[in-house]
Amino acid sequence: MDGFLGLSLEIGFLCVVGSVVLAFVRLVKGPSLQDRVVALDFMTVAIVAFCGLAAVRYATPAFLDVGLVLALVGFLATVALARFAERSTVRNRKESRDE
């Protein structure tokens, strides 16, 4: 794929991947449990965008299906981890702050 669309797709990929990398840095740094989860959540959404880009790039709408599923279920992990954070902190406040 070339032309303007091709170029913008390359830029799009670069940006999305770049944002994932930035999120990864946050994930590594933490410091709070929630920071890491938020970073992971952000990555999930970025993957949806990636799917959209891939669908265009390879002219394959099938990739949108990947995004579709992820958009629906991706947040479940966030919810579960948030619940973990809340509940485990009730048990041990100090511990989860340091996670």
Binding site: A62, D65, V66, L68, V69, L72, V73, L76, V79, R83
Partner: protein, 139 residues
């Protein structure tokens, strides 16, 4: 989980996930999807339900024991394979019925393969819920 927001969202999402999961299952033979993906998605709906409203409510909504669903799924998948015996074919030979088929168009396909995929769906759905409900209750 005593979150009003989550519970309210779950009302829509759980249903949405279920409907979506069936959609994914039925289209699986021709586009990405299928019984696994469907079952996993459907289960996610009830997992969310269980997280938001507790397993008691989720079990009540499901009405049937999840392990029963799973084992029925296995039975259905097996039956889909055994169905071929009626036609003298080998185990898991796909049997197709094309409703309103014409020269060019295959019409509306009904097949043992689809039944198999539904079995797969039920197995995955039931199994994951068996596991998640039990874990939620033990912890």
């Amino acid at each position: 989980m005593n979150s009003i927001i989550l519970r309210a969202g779950t009302r829509y999402l759980a249903g949405l996930l279920l409907v979506f999961s069936i959609y994914m299952t039925l289209r699986g033979h021709n586009e990405p999807g299928g019984g696994f993906i469907g079952g996993l998605t459907g289960a996610t709906g009830f997992v969310l339900y269980a997280i938001a409203c507790g397993t008691q409510d989720a079990r009540a909504a499901l009405r049937v024991l999840p392990q029963t669903i799973a084992i029925w799924g296995l039975g259905i998948a097996l039956a889909a394979g055994l169905f071929a015996a009626l036609f003298g074919d080998a185990l898991f030979t796909g049997q197709w019925l094309f409703i309103g088929a014409t020269e060019d168009d295959k019409g509306l396909p009904l097949s043992s393969v689809l039944v198999f995929d539904i079995g797969v769906y039920l197995v995955v759905f039931g199994s994951i819920l068996t596991l998640v409900f039990a874990m939620e209750e033990e912890i």
